[in-house]
């Protein structure tokens, strides 16, 4: 590990996080832009969910307990379960399936 690598990643990451709030902050974007930004954010979040479920190690893979846990969470979400319950359901189902396999 090198401090140059850490500094580069830290500064680059911070710049990416901050460009929106710092540059845009005092102005309200148009409704069309606002929609574009939240649409992009939600699309990326959904993709992060999919990658974390189906490619947790950066390669496509079927991890049964993991997929089952996230699926159970999706079902709980569809049934309007509280957030904390959804998280616990996912962890619980995955842990239980791993324990018995």
């Amino acid at each position: 590990m090198s401090w140059w690598a850490i500094a580069t990643l830290a500064l680059g990451t911070y710049a990416m996080k901050a460009v929106g709030p710092v540059v845009l902050g005092s102005r309200t974007p148009s409704p069309a832009l606002t929609r574009l930004f939240s649409l992009t954010a939600s699309t990326l979040l959904v993709a992060v969910v999919a990658l974390a479920t189906f490619a947790p190690t950066d390669e496509l893979g079927v991890d049964g307990p993991l997929i089952a846990g996230v699926t159970a969470a999706a079902a709980a979400t569809a049934r309007r379960a509280p957030f904390a319950i959804v998280v616990l359901v996912a962890a619980g189902v995955t842990a239980a399936l791993r324990a018995i396999s």
């Binding site: 590990m1 996080k17 929106g20 902050g25 846990g69 842990a95």
Partner: protein
């Protein structure tokens, strides 16, 4: 000004503790690969983006430069997050700049899921600050303890996508958002097979074009 309500605090604590356990794992893995305790903590303090920290650590012993590129690509999604949060993070520029450091998947998703700007703000800061704290604590514990906690045994690796899914679900009531999401997933999964590390999530943003294209075609 009243403090954040109990639901927000409870939710923030739930996700923060879960991700904090992943932080322990990061501390263990990083130091296991030869990263110093100080370097590991610096990464958690100043990068504060879990997946990219793991990617950078994976580059130790092989190509650190390639790992930096992959990590930056992976983190490009934070541009969209910050842009979507700009209306929520009001106030003087220095405060917006400071708050930006805790723009991450979880704080963004939580803020987007709220119905009004006040709850979005409270949620963003509750999740952002609590998770930051737990991430630092986890990293410190993992780096110092050096023994692996098998977080997969506790299903923590399922908790993270589950939390994001629960938070982004309200956005998916919109048809265009669903189409964009499916397209983004398809692009990301295909890209995982063929594209270099870090690129798949960046490419997933193109799903937005698909969603908007379908919407335009249906008019």
């Amino acid at each position: 000004m009243p403090g954040p309500d109990r639901t927000i605090l409870r939710d923030a604590l739930t996700i923060s503790v879960a991700v904090g356990v992943i932080g322990i794992s990061f501390g263990v893995i990083a130091t296991g690969r030869g990263v110093s305790v100080l370097e590991a903590q610096a990464m958690s303090l100043f990068v504060f983006a879990g997946a990219s920290q793991f990617v950078l650590v994976a580059g130790v012993g092989s190509s650190l430069a390639a790992a930096v590129v992959a990590a930056l690509l992976l983190n490009s999604r934070h541009v969209a997050y910050g842009l979507s949060l700009a209306p929520v993070l009001r106030g003087p520029r220095w405060r917006r700049a400071a708050a930006s450091h805790v723009v991450i998947d979880e704080s963004t998703a939580y803020a987007l899921a709220q119905d009004d700007p006040a709850r979005s703000r409270q949620g963003f800061f509750a999740v952002g600050l609590l998770l930051f704290t737990c991430w630092q604590a986890g990293t410190a514990i993992g780096a110092a303890a050096g023994t692996a906690i098998d977080y997969e045994a506790f299903g923590i690796d399922a908790a993270f996508p589950a939390a994001l899914l629960a938070l982004v679900a309200p956005q998916l009531r919109d048809r265009t958002a669903r189409i964009a999401g499916f397209a983004g997933i398809a692009i990301a999964l295909v890209a995982t097979e063929i594209a270099p590390r870090g690129l798949p999530i960046a490419l997933a943003a193109l799903g937005v074009l698909v969603g908007l294209g379908v919407e335009r075609a249906r008019r």
